[in-house]
Every structure is written in C-alpha cells, then in structure tokens.
C-alpha cells in the first residue's frame, strides 16, 4: 500500500518541486563526481603501477666462456621456477642490438664496439602479482653457478611501493573525508528538499497517515534524486576521463599510457549507483523521521 502511494507521489513531487530537486541533484552530482574522480585516478595509478611492475625484469649476466649446454641448462632451470613468467636467453649480438636501440640517437657512442666483452644474458619476468618479490628472487638467482652478476630494479621498486603506500593512506583519508561530507551534504540537501514538502507531510499526518505511509514517498523521492545525481556524476567523470586520456598523448613520457588508461567496469558503476541511491534513501529516511518527530512534539 505504501509503495502504491509512495512511487507516484515521489515522482510527482520530483516534477512539482523540480527547482529544489534540480539543485539537490547538482549538489549531489558535484560531490559524487569529486569522489568518483579520486577513485578513478587511484584506479588508473594502481593499473599503471601494475603495468610498470610487470615490465620490470631481472637480468642474469652469465660467466664469460660458459658452455652452451650449461647456458641451456640454466635457462631451463630459471624457466622452471614457480614465480617466473617468462625467461629468454640473449646472445651478446642480440644484447648489443638491444643496447643500441635503447640508446636511440646516441648510439654513435657504440661505434666500433664489437660483441667481445658482452656476456650472455638471461632476461626474466616474474608472474603478475609477484613483482614485489623481485629482490628476493634476484638474490637467490645470483647464487646459481654460472651466474656472474644480477641486475634488477629493486631501488625503483621500493620507491614506487612507498609512493603507493603513501598514496593509499592519503587517498583513503580523502575518500573517507569526502564520503563523510557527502553524507552531510546529501542529508542537508534532502532536508532542504523536504522543507518544500513540509506542508504536504503535515496534511498527511493530520488525515491519519502513519509514519511508514509518509516516509514511503519521501524515501522514493530521495532515492530517485540520488540516482539522478549518481547518473549525472558518472557522465561528468566519463567526460573528464576522455579529456584526461586525450591529454596523456601530449607528452612523450605519458603517451604510452594513453591506451592503458581504464574506466570503471559496468559492475563497479552499478554498485556505485546502488550505493548513491541507498545514500539518498537513508538520508531521506533520517530527515523525514526528524521532521515527523519535530511535528509530533
């Protein structure tokens, strides 16, 4: 019975008080957009770091004069390790070629250099999710017979790891702060919106409507306002995302990340919209309850 009255009444109230409701939707949508943008930036930074970690390699420089059979045996031994995703043997010639490609326009410094002195190398990558163990893996590989030296990006990894730990802390703090303010904003916006319906609520109460009956239409209205605010914010974040992604191509440093930038998945968006609607419904519930209590006393 409550929803039979509540849904059409809530919809009608949205139309009747469209100015107040539009303002509420704008306030909600702005707050949700800020929250969503922080979440999206965090999501992409995490994603980029995973890509970066997955590209980090360990290079095993083999003893000069190591026999072909021993090289192959070492390669198989490394490939057989559980954490290793990929391992390949780089000949001195391939090593020189890769080095000159890395140097790019500065490759003239290698002019006249031969393959003599360049060792055989095994380049390996760890499985996704195990990149943080790179230091331990590298140290254990350094002890293998036939391995002269090991090179890996441990220091950089440590720095990046620290950066993300700080980012997680700061991001978490800001998300909690914004969520709290969002709840307060939604509560106040709902109270303002409810103010325009105060007379209707008083009349309903006078003609014998129960609290549940009165709450039904207010909660439906709050839920729809929050849902509309959520949809608006998704649209805003999507537009911002497109601009930011286009912006990545302006700098040579970030252009490689352009294709890697990601947006929220459909399931995440559904959860977010559900949470926004719930937030609207809960704040409406509290606001209308307070109003009814005030009216009763």
């Amino acid at each position: 019975m409550y929803l039979r009255y509540g849904i059409p009444r809530g919809l009608r109230s949205l139309r009747t008080n469209w100015k107040a409701n539009f303002n509420t939707i704008l306030i909600l949508s702005s707050s949700l957009s800020v929250l969503g943008m922080i979440a999206l930036l965090y999501l992409n930074l995490t994603h980029f770091s995973e890509i970066w970690f997955s590209n980090s390699k360990i290079s095993l420089f083999l003893d000069s004069g190591i026999e072909a059979e021993r090289r192959t045996a070492l390669l198989e031994q490394v490939r057989g390790l559980e954490l290793v995703r990929k391992a390949e043997l780089i000949t001195p010639r391939e090593g020189l070629k890769a080095l000159s490609e890395t140097l790019g326009t500065n490759q003239n410094i290698l002019a006249g250099a031969g393959v003599e002195g360049i060792p055989y190398t095994i380049d390996l990558e760890l499985r996704v999710g195990h990149q943080e163990q790179i230091g331990g893996v590298a140290r254990s590989l350094a002890n293998l017979p036939g391995v002269e030296d090991v090179l890996y990006t441990e220091r950089r990894l440590r720095e990046v790891r620290m950066f993300f730990t700080v980012l997680q802390g700061v991001g978490g703090f800001f998300i909690a702060l914004i969520l709290t303010s969002l709840f307060l904003i939604v509560s106040h916006a709902t109270k303002l919106s409810l103010h325009s319906r105060r007379e209707e609520i008083e009349i309903l109460s006078l003609v014998g409507a129960t609290r549940g009956f009165i709450r039904s239409s207010v909660i439906v209205e709050g839920l729809l306002i929050a849902l509309a605010g959520g949809l608006f914010s998704v649209l805003t974040i999507w537009i911002c995302f497109l601009f930011l992604r286009a912006g990545l191509s302006w700098k040579e440093l970030t252009s490689s990340l352009q294709g890697e930038a990601i947006f929220f998945g459909l399931r995440d968006l559904m959860y977010a919209l559900g949470a926004a609607s719930l937030l609207g419904a809960v704040s409406s519930y509290f606001a209308v309850n307070k109003l009814l209590k005030d009216m009763e006393t």
Partner: protein, 251 residues
C-alpha cells in the same frame, strides 16, 4: 458579521456540561495547557462532547479554540489532565495509534490545509488513500463527496485556481470522504463571504443530520444564531456551556 463576542459583566455561566445519559465521544478531565511557560490557555478544564451532538466552540480570538481542536486531534499534548475518545485515553498517543485516532475525525481548517498544486480529486482522495481505498471504490467515494459540494464537474482542476469558498468546500469534501463519526471545523467560515459561509454551514449541518458529532469553532455570533446548537464558551481559561440571548449578548 460580528467578530467579537461581547460578554455582559454579570454573565451567569452554567459551568461544565452536565452528566447525561447520552454516549460521550470526547471528554476533557482537568486539562491544563500552556505554551512555552506562559500562562495556561486552558486551566483545569472539564467538558464532554456527546455522540451525535452539534456544538459551537466560541470565545474571543486567542481564547484557545484552536488549542482545544489540537488537543482533540492529538497534535498537542496537555500539560496535565486526560482526554478520552470513546473511552480511550488519547492525550499521550503517538505513532500508529495517533494516526489511527486521526482517521476517526474529519477536520476542516480555517486555512483549508489543502495541497495547492494537486487537483481537487487528489486532495479529497488523500484521507481515503491513507485508509487503504483504491481503484473504483476510491473513485466512487471521491465523486460522491464532490457531488455533495457541487464540484464533481471540476474535480481535475488544480486547487490553487479556486476561490476561498471553493477551497473550503474541497476541505469539507475531504473531511467527509471517509464518513467520520466526529467532525471538527475550526473557523470554517472565517475567510468567506456571507453567502458562501451559509452554504458551508448548511453542509456542516447536513453532516449532523447524518448522525455525526459536529464541533464548530467560531467567533461569529450571527452564525451561531442562524444555525442553533449547543454553545461552549471559552472564557478565563475555562469552558462553559452558554446560551445566546438577544442581539448582542450571551447568557
């Protein structure tokens, strides 16, 4: 119309309603009510409203007529004393019991208390929806009530476009819609011209003929003279049963 009641200084008042054999709808027992620590509006008031009776509640502006209605509807709570409706104590009711209590009373307000953006039929439908009416039963009830007040042809018009008198007719139709046994009207003619005031009072008198208990708050002596009924006067924070005498006085 005379907005003020002139009381002779030697007014002989009868005191509270006498005990009778009739069924009692409402009873105030030692009710005191004050606002924000001011002097009480009602002080140790005792009176009864008999089932099927037609009462005027009168007194000067600010005497406490609206307070009596607010107490009867359980909008206000008394500082002390008890209020009974059909033998049930209602002065402290809240929540669902309060809502169910209000569903037994048809109420007409001086300021109409209608939803201006809604249509006439939506306003009349409000208490019916609250009581669970739906579909054809709801529509039939609305049409029946609007026919009685002569607004059935205009039921889809918005209330905000109506005159004061028409709004009061909608308000009466809404109050009658669920056939309440008790009907309160707080200054129902206060904002109306004479002809509309008489039409409204005829409708209210019609309710009384249908066996409802009717209580009308007014300070309009002409109205009281034209539609005779028991008159309760609020004076000096007490309620007394009185009779009108002559052109200007009350005894």
């Amino acid at each position: 119309m005379n907005p003020m009641i002139r009381l002779p200084p030697d007014l002989p008042v009868k005191g509270a309603c006498d005990e009778g054999t009739a069924l009692i709808h409402f009873e105030f027992k030692n009710i005191t009510k004050s606002y924000l620590g001011n002097l009480p509006v009602l002080d140790q008031v005792n009176f009864k409203i008999e089932a099927g009776g037609f009462y005027y509640l009168t007194g000067v502006s600010g005497a406490g007529k609206t307070t009596v209605f607010r107490l009867l509807l359980s909008i206000e709570r008394p500082d002390s004393g008890e209020i009974y409706f059909d033998g049930e104590e209602i002065s402290e009711v809240s929540g669902t019991r309060q809502a169910l209590h209000r569903r037994r009373i048809g109420m007409v307000f001086q300021d109409y208390r209608l939803l201006p953006a809604d249509t006439i039929e939506e306003n009349v439908a409000l208490p019916l929806r609250v009581s669970g009416y739906r579909g054809a039963a709801l529509r039939n009830r609305i049409d029946r009530q609007l026919e009685q007040v002569g607004l059935v042809e205009r039921k889809r018009e918005q209330v905000m476009g109506l005159s004061g008198g028409e709004k009061q007719l909608v308000s009466i139709a809404r109050a009658m819609s669920f056939d309440p046994k008790v009907f309160f009207a707080d200054e129902p003619t206060g904002n109306l011209d004479q002809s509309m005031a008489f039409r409204v009072m005829e409708l209210i008198q019609g309710l009384h003929r249908e066996d409802s208990t009717v209580v009308v708050a007014t300070h309009d002596l002409d109205l009281i003279r034209s539609f005779r009924a028991k008159t309760l006067l609020i004076k000096d924070r007490k309620i007394h049963e009185v009779r009108l005498t002559g052109q200007a006085g009350i005894s």
